[in-house]
């Protein structure tokens, strides 16, 4: 393929990325752009050209040693929820935009510390970016068949132009707002897209090598196992190598939190905390998929090409060797994607640090105070833009000068070890409130010095002079000072060795100096806020302890310079409203100071924010004891408020319950009233009949004999009704108040039914109604026979009442089923209107569809029956028959 075609492909691909980023910025509110999948995929910015090409190189020469770099993040994944959530929470609250800001804020807005972290990151990452550029350049050359052509000056080196396009991309989408804590959704989405591209193309080449060039994994394995070094390639080689593994895993574990690009994606660009829940499984899965074919591509390359010098590019060389240019181009694009995402996100993160923690706090603050707000915003953006270009050009320069000595793997690990120097201040600082800024600075510098001596210096000497003497014999030939074997520890690989010693020194100094020198009150204040982030989230702006004199107008003046008048006023109004402070207030309190610092942090970094605000306020020293006391007090207030709130909620609940109970009582009372009314009404009816008849019999001497007889018989009937009613009411009351105890005994239901029928036979035969009970089986169940008899009598006499004279048939049956005894009473009478069905078991409910003559019931029969059955823990039911009549039935549990 010619240079130009390849370059053309690259331009097309970059335009596509521009398009995607542009589209995402435009749709920045859409659910799709803010999805947790995008977040998890963007985390895969971790996989750079090192992963894409470098792992294969390692796998080809040293076997499975490429793995621990991916095991660290996988092991760390469950911890994210714990650690990263806390970091994200703190960062959101303080509008933190980089790891330098995070660390400097934790140690009290320390300006020098922020700058130091920035420098460490630059030192670690610029060579790493250079490495990515080199990967692009080398793969470009491999793919371009035009091997005779070698760029003679940087002006015709395509890598330079690619680097510049990347800088433009990062500038365009990274500096749209002067506030760096604003999310860069365009970049995030394009990174997620690149993650997908690099994974798919890498899997393609994996499948191609394993299943097209070879006959599957087993084929490669068998062929490989004939080589003498096979054993070494497939195992962790003994105890010493085990240490190397452990340190590398630990190293990558730290890197996943501390690498500026990872911090940028996982913390600054995080939209919602809960996205972590997706990332926790998707990201490890991604890493796993990425590593499946590494070993097979490497071995396939060893078998088919066999040139370990070129092992890193087996993925490209293998398809080229088989004249598959298309696949090679895809692999190239995958690798290119890995490079772009790494370079863009890293430069974005580094430029933020460079501007907010180095350039602005050390040079531009005075000028900012004099400038017009619009110009300030432009200034800040320009500083960041220049930073992005400088970083990329620096990286390019590094690549041009060191290119022949760079190996993807070694430079990558070197970057990790350098960045790991931030680990003690970052991780321990999150949980130990004594960690102080001075100790952090000493620890980082000392740790870096160790890394410099054990890793960077030997590497540089080797690169510049080509001599191995320094590594072989040590400083001035002193053997305990051999850079790769300090104090005789010679079994670790150089990066693991450097990591071990630098971490040891760093942690030791950090711990020791933190204990020796207490930090000042401000450091301690932030330490408390970081460590107990959950509590201080509640405290919000009140968590900063501050004493002194400050005027709102002057603070407003400073804010105006950076946010513009409109945004400042809006923010302050919100603040005043939130804390119920009059907008005319003249003196600022600690809450306003804290709030203002946060407002500025996104634009100019936390250290500069603090410096600017303190330039217009008169701050008084507060003793450490006082800080802790005030914090404790406000925490207590919050806790007390919370307790009060809980108590009041509890009270409200209780009140609700009370009024509910009251309501229920009233309801019961009403029911009782209604019951009594109905009882009175029911009692009065027969009495009325008796009284009127008696009066007539007494007064009317001329009354014919037969009418006299009628009235007398009516009186008898009414008296009977009255006494029945009274009995029923008493029964019902006793049952519903639980005063009537049941006499449980084992009885034969057949006999009980026979007894009940026996008592009703006479009435039935008067109406010419047949009662049939042909079931002869004995079923014994435990129940109160008198009560069940009463139920049966009720139900059967109801049936008699509603049956027509002459052809009435009542069938009583029973059966044993599923632990229940079921008794049914079926008649062929008038049935019950469906509308009445739900009410028939209510007391005093009498169906409206009654016979012409009012049935002489008390209105309590079914209600009593229901009570009795439920006392037996059974249930009673009724349903109309399909043809005519109704079936009543009840279940009794079979004890």
């Amino acid at each position: 393929m010619s240079n130009y075609v390849l370059f053309f492909i690259i331009i097309i691909y970059l335009s596509l990325l521009f398009g995607i980023a542009f589209f995402a910025e435009k749709k920045s509110k859409s659910r799709w752009v803010n999805s947790p999948i995008i977040y998890a995929l963007a985390l895969a910015v971790y996989c750079t050209a090192w992963t894409y090409y470098g792992s294969i190189g390692i796998a080809a020469t040293s076997g499975i040693d490429f793995l621990p770099i991916y095991l660290g993040p996988v092991i760390a994944a469950p911890l994210w929820i714990l650690l990263l959530r806390k970091v994200i929470r703190i960062s959101k609250q303080h509008k933190i935009s980089s790891i330098a800001d995070f660390i400097s804020l934790r140690y009290g807005n320390h300006r020098f510390l922020g700058a130091l972290v920035t420098v460490i990151c630059l030192l670690g990452i610029i060579p790493y970016i250079a490495l990515q550029l080199q990967a692009v350049s080398e793969t470009f050359q491999i793919l371009a068949d035009d091997t005779s052509y070698v760029s003679k000056s940087i002006y015709d080196d395509s890598t330079l132009y690619i680097a510049l396009i990347l800088a433009v991309f990062a500038t365009f989408f990274g500096t749209q707002s002067s506030d760096a804590s604003v999310k860069h959704k365009g970049i995030l989405v394009s990174v997620a897209f690149e993650s997908v591209i690099k994974l798919i193309f890498f899997l393609c080449i994996g499948v191609y090598v394993t299943y097209v060039l070879f006959d599957g994994t087993e084929d490669i394995y068998t062929k490989m196992s004939q080589f003498s070094n096979f054993e070494r390639l497939t195992t962790i080689n003994g105890f010493e190598s085990g240490f190397n593994w452990m340190y590398t895993i630990l190293l990558s574990f730290m890197a996943i939190f501390l690498l500026p690009r990872q911090f940028q994606v996982s913390v600054v660009e995080n939209v919602r905390e809960k996205h972590l829940k997706t990332a926790i499984w998707l990201f490890p899965l991604y890493l796993l998929l990425f590593n499946i074919f590494v070993i097979f591509i490497a071995w396939g390359g060893n078998l088919a090409i066999g040139n370990p010098e070129q092992a890193e590019y087996y993925a490209l060389l293998l398809p080229l060797q088989n004249n598959n240019t298309l696949l090679a181009s895809l692999v190239f694009l995958g690798g290119f994607s890995a490079v772009i995402s790494m370079v863009v996100v890293s430069t974005l993160a580094l430029s933020t640090m460079l501007s907010n923690n180095l350039i602005i706090p050390y040079g531009f603050l005075d000028r900012f105070l004099k400038n017009h707000p619009d110009r300030n915003a432009k200034y800040i953006k320009n500083i960041r833009r220049i930073s992005i270009f400088s970083i990329i050009i620096l990286a390019y320069a590094f690549y041009v000068n060191f290119s022949y000595e760079l190996s993807l793997y070694s430079i990558g690990l070197m970057a990790f070890v350098i960045i790991a120097q931030l680990a003690p201040s970052f991780f321990i600082g999150l949980f130990w409130n004594r960690g102080s800024s001075r100790a952090t600075i000493i620890g980082i510098i000392a740790g870096f010095a160790v890394v410099f001596y054990t890793l960077i210096l030997p590497f540089s000497i080797q690169a510049l002079t080509g001599s191995d003497d320094f590594v072989e014999y040590g400083f001035y030939g002193i053997s305990p000072l051999k850079p790769h074997a300090l104090l005789g520890i010679d079994f670790l690989s150089p990066p693991a060795h450097a990591f071990f010693w630098s971490m040891l020194v760093n942690c030791l100094f950090y711990g020791l100096f933190s204990l020796l020198y207490k930090g000042n009150y401000r450091e301690r204040n932030y330490a408390e806020m970081f460590i107990d982030s959950k509590n201080y989230n509640d405290l919000q702006d009140g968590a900063l302890v501050w004493k002194g004199e400050a005027y709102v107008a002057e603070i407003k003046n400073v804010l105006n310079k950076f946010l513009g008048e409109e945004r400042t006023n809006r923010a302050l109004n919100l603040f005043f409203k939130k804390y119920n402070i009059s907008p005319e207030t003249q003196m600022a309190d600690s809450r306003l100071i804290n709030f203002s610092e946060k407002l500025l942090t996104g634009s100019i970094g936390s250290a500069s924010a603090k410096i600017l605000i303190s330039s217009v306020v008169k701050e008084e020293e507060v003793s450490l004891v006082e800080v802790l006391k005030i914090l404790e007090e406000s925490k207590e207030t919050i806790a007390r408020n919370k307790l009060l709130r809980e108590k009041s909620e509890e009270l409200t609940k209780l009140t609700d319950k009370l009024s509910e109970a009251n309501e229920e009582l009233i309801q019961k009372d009403l029911q009782k009233d209604e019951f009594l009314d109905t009882v009175a009404h029911e009692l009065k009816t027969p009495i009325t009949g008796i009284r009127a008849s008696t009066e007539l019999l007494i007064e009317d001497a001329e009354m014919p004999k037969e009418i006299q007889a009628q009235f007398l018989s009516n009186m008898l009937q009414d008296s009977d009704r009255l006494s029945r009613l009274i009995q029923n009411i008493l029964d019902f009351e006793k049952l519903s108040n639980g005063r009537s105890s049941l006499n449980f005994k084992k009885n034969n239901i057949r006999e009980t039914i026979q007894k009940a029928i026996g008592g009703l036979r006479q009435i039935a035969s008067k109406k010419n109604i047949k009662i049939i009970s042909s079931n002869t089986s004995d079923v014994f169940a435990v129940y109160d026979e008198d009560k069940i008899w009463q139920v049966l009598t009720n139900l059967i006499s109801n049936a008699i009442k509603y049956c027509k004279d002459g052809n009435g048939i009542i069938i009583v049956d029973y059966k044993y089923e599923k632990g229940f005894l079921e008794v049914t009473i079926n008649d062929n009478g008038t049935g019950i209107p469906e509308a009445d069905m739900p009410f028939i078991f209510d007391k005093f409910f009498q169906s409206k569809n009654q016979n012409i003559i009012k049935p002489q019931g008390s209105g309590l029969g079914l209600a009593i029956s229901k009570q009795i059955i439920s006392k037996h823990k059974g249930s009673i039911w009724a349903k109309n028959n399909k043809k005519n009549g109704v079936t009543f039935g009840f279940y009794l549990p079979f004890k």
Binding site: H681, K684, T685, T688, G689, R691, L696, N714, K848
Partner: protein, 121 residues
């Protein structure tokens, strides 16, 4: 001409005593066992008095009274509630609906007769 009375009640024993009494007092007596039967009867005759129980199946006394009040032909017909409901609120409700008298059960025959006669005199 004989006075006409419609007795609306679902208790046959009570109805029997009233029927006997008013027949003896020279009334033309019509019996209905609930509101809907009463309204049927009222389609063909215009009585002087209607005696109305309140608690009855199907159409109760209140509903019946409302229907009577809507019927212009019955404008001169007196309506007397005769019921066991004797709470002050019940009486008030009955009179508000437009009943001319409210008598409670149990009643004295003598008193009923004199109240009715007074009403239609």
């Amino acid at each position: 001409m004989k006075k006409k009375i419609v007795i609306v009640d679902d208790e046959p024993n009570i109805v029997m005593t009233l029927e006997y009494t008013f027949k003896k007092n020279n009334f033309e007596v019509y019996i209905a066992r609930d509101g809907s039967e009463a309204l049927d009867i009222l389609k063909s005759i215009i009585p002087d008095v209607i005696m109305l129980d309140v608690m009855m199946p199907k159409v109760d006394g209140y509903q019946t009274l409302k229907a009577i009040k809507e019927n212009k032909a019955l404008a001169n017909t007196k309506v007397v509630f005769i019921t066991a409901k004797n709470k002050a609120s019940d009486i008030e409700k009955g009179l508000k609906l437009g009943a001319d008298k409210y008598l409670t059960k149990p009643f004295s025959i003598k008193q009923i007769v004199s109240e009715i006669n007074e009403l239609i005199a």
